[in-house]
Symmetry: C2
Subunit: 393 residues, 2 copies
């Protein structure tokens, strides 16, 4: 309905046929011909191409309907591996997965992102090489690397853009640095975008309009609309942390403006407010610990931060009309208080037509949405129709 | 990059081949075979299907390279007609166009939308039948009708949903009513969505991230992201008129909330504010007339409304990262004042990475974006790959 569909020649169709096989079910050549409506001879050529690539493997014989039983073929997700990296302000999580994003080995450790790109990326590469070995695989098995950074990222170049909480990382060649150590293509995106991808892929595959909101040291969102991540013209969409809070306090934000959501309701902002009120806290993690310990001032502050976030999310609901808002990040792990505050304001402030079917829920991925999403992003770059077409000699 | 691509069997490929021909250039069977990579025999069958539908027509012979010169074929945009209707709060515009959205006949008249759906839709059908005759065509030539309404619309049913400025229209069967009179499929959408479609198609075909903002009796937006209109889960996305203005006055809005953008900065709101200040005005049109007459209070009020709209659009820029914001509606026709106010706040309030390549411009379609968009929406429903595939016996 939205203007002309762009025409793209399809020299072979093997890329699209392969998408069908990604569900992991074994199929015969005859079944593939029947589903795709293509000639048996065409299918035979495509199956040979995929067998040669290793991405398709023989899976035994189907039941015969008379004569020699036909061979079946199945997606070989184990043919290559993917490295997923989720770098936060204070921690890093790595996983080695297969091409279907099943985790084979996983690790996390504290990280000091302020050390700058050189030391941090070298450490990541060391950890990655160890983790690949721990998974019993070779670095030559690595098909792609997916990285999430707590920063705006130019997705086309993979470089951080003016990252407010990553001093020294502006325009750093993250893909080049990791590629030199790991010898595989590297895709980089904002951490919240990959969390949105991961949460949707693992928990909401049937939801086409989803907003993932991360509340931690920073506040950001990943926008999924009509089934795909929408990054915007420069890839910096979803940046709700610097939207002005309606009728909020005119607190100075590190971006240079005043009254930004992140300056009022992030983990650090809540901690500072509690400290001023005589309850010492330095970080969002401290706030979470206080809430878990039943500190009423902390519980009240977190719920109020939820209301503040809700006042900005109400505008996002009006603009995007999502059917699910997922709230993640360490502040969301503090329990229902932040969600309760968000729900209170969004349901009161948005029009009924946009909220009657809207669910506002906590992330279900227990902090692992980022590595799932990084794996999905990297695997997709290897398995997309265009990537598979490129296998053809 | 965004999860698994859904697999769709392509029984013939004629729908996609036809998209290529929509550029209006004559082509031979051999050229079509070369561009699509398909066999000559396949192309011959597809060309025959399209010739039989009337959507493709012979266009003479190409230059021979020896032997009989090959026949060429061209998209016959004149094969059928489309009716485009843009219904505003106080006016209606109709156009009869060909399948490439070229206007063949056009008309506008005042409309009293408050008369309710029965009388208004009957009048629209009468006008449509007269206009089709004036264009020298038959009602049997009508392939589809596209309608824009100043209301949230459930795009799947074509019915208005709780329209704040259309009393009596909630859940009205607009498509059924018009179909009974005009005997063609009817597609209905929010007026701002079709303005976004029309402005993009005619003025910004190369821009993939565009926000169209209408400032008139109401305020709303149409969101184009990654090249397509994004309507959201219930089709009510883009509803910026009911976003709370940061630090705005707590004016009661007709939606029941306070401080909505529409309650502060729409044409009616500006008129009411001028009246209170001793400059009598009833409608947005009165405000435009005062601005054109050089009334400084009106000019100041319009620029301030622009700043208010900008304070909400800054949030939309952070969330969507568009590269163009087009401002239309009758208040935008008052000149540069509203744009100047919008630019002032958006460029000050959004992060540099999102604004350094952002253009904020007035609509170029002189009030006709709505009928262009309604025509594009209707034509697309007839010419999309799926619709063309459905032609196959």
């Amino acid at each position: 309905m939205d203007g002309l569909t762009k025409f793209a020649p399809r020299p072979t169709g093997v890329g699209e046929m392969f998408q069908l096989l990604r569900d992991g079910k074994p199929r015969t050549r005859a079944e593939l011909a029947q589903i795709t409506g293509q000639a048996r001879s065409t299918i035979a050529v495509r199956v040979d191409v995929l067998l040669a690539s290793g991405l398709l493997a023989p899976a035994g014989e189907a039941t015969s309907t008379g004569g020699r039983p036909p061979a079946t073929f199945v997606f070989n997700a184990d043919a290559r591996i993917v490295l997923a990296i989720d770098l936060g302000a204070t921690h890093v999580r790595l996983a080695v997965t297969d091409l279907a994003s099943t985790v084979l080995a996983e690790q996390q450790e504290p990280a000091a992102i302020a050390d700058g790109p050189g030391p941090v990326l070298d450490r990541l590469a060391d950890l990655a090489l160890d983790l690949i070995a721990a998974a019993g695989r070779q670095v030559t098995d690595l098909a792609a690397v997916g990285v999430g950074l707590p920063s705006p990222v130019d997705h086309t170049t993979g470089r951080p853009v003016s990252p407010p909480i990553m001093p020294g990382w502006h325009n750093a060649d993250v893909p080049g640095h990791l590629r030199r150590r790991l010898h595989a293509p590297v895709l980089v995106d904002n951490d919240v975008n990959i969390m949105a991808l991961g949460e949707r892929q693992t928990e909401y595959p049937e939801i086409d309009h989803l907003l993932f909101v991360k509340v931690a040291t920073g506040i950001g969102a990943g926008v999924i609309s009509d089934g795909a991540l929408r990054r915007g013209a420069q890839g910096v969409g979803g940046d709700i942390g610097h939207i002005a809070v309606p009728h909020g306090p005119q607190v100075l934000c590190h971006c240079g403006n005043t009254g930004c959501l992140e300056a009022v309701a992030s983990g650090g902002a809540i901690a500072a407010e509690l400290t001023r009120a005589g309850v010492p806290a330095e970080t969002g993690a401290d706030v979470v610990a206080l809430v878990r310990a039943g500190n009423t001032a902390a519980i009240r502050a977190v719920r109020e931060a939820g209301r503040t976030i809700g006042s900005v999310l109400a505008g996002s609901v009006s603009l995007l009309n999502p059917s699910v808002i997922v709230v993640g990040g360490n502040l969301a792990s503090a329990g229902e208080d932040i969600l309760a505050g968000i729900r209170e304001v969004v349901y009161q402030r948005s029009l009924p037509v946009a909220t009657q079917h809207l669910r506002i829920v906590a992330s279900r991925s227990k902090g692992r949405a980022g590595i799932y999403g990084a794996s999905v992003m990297a695997a997709e770059s290897v398995l997309s129709p265009a990537a598979i077409e490129a296998l053809i000699p």
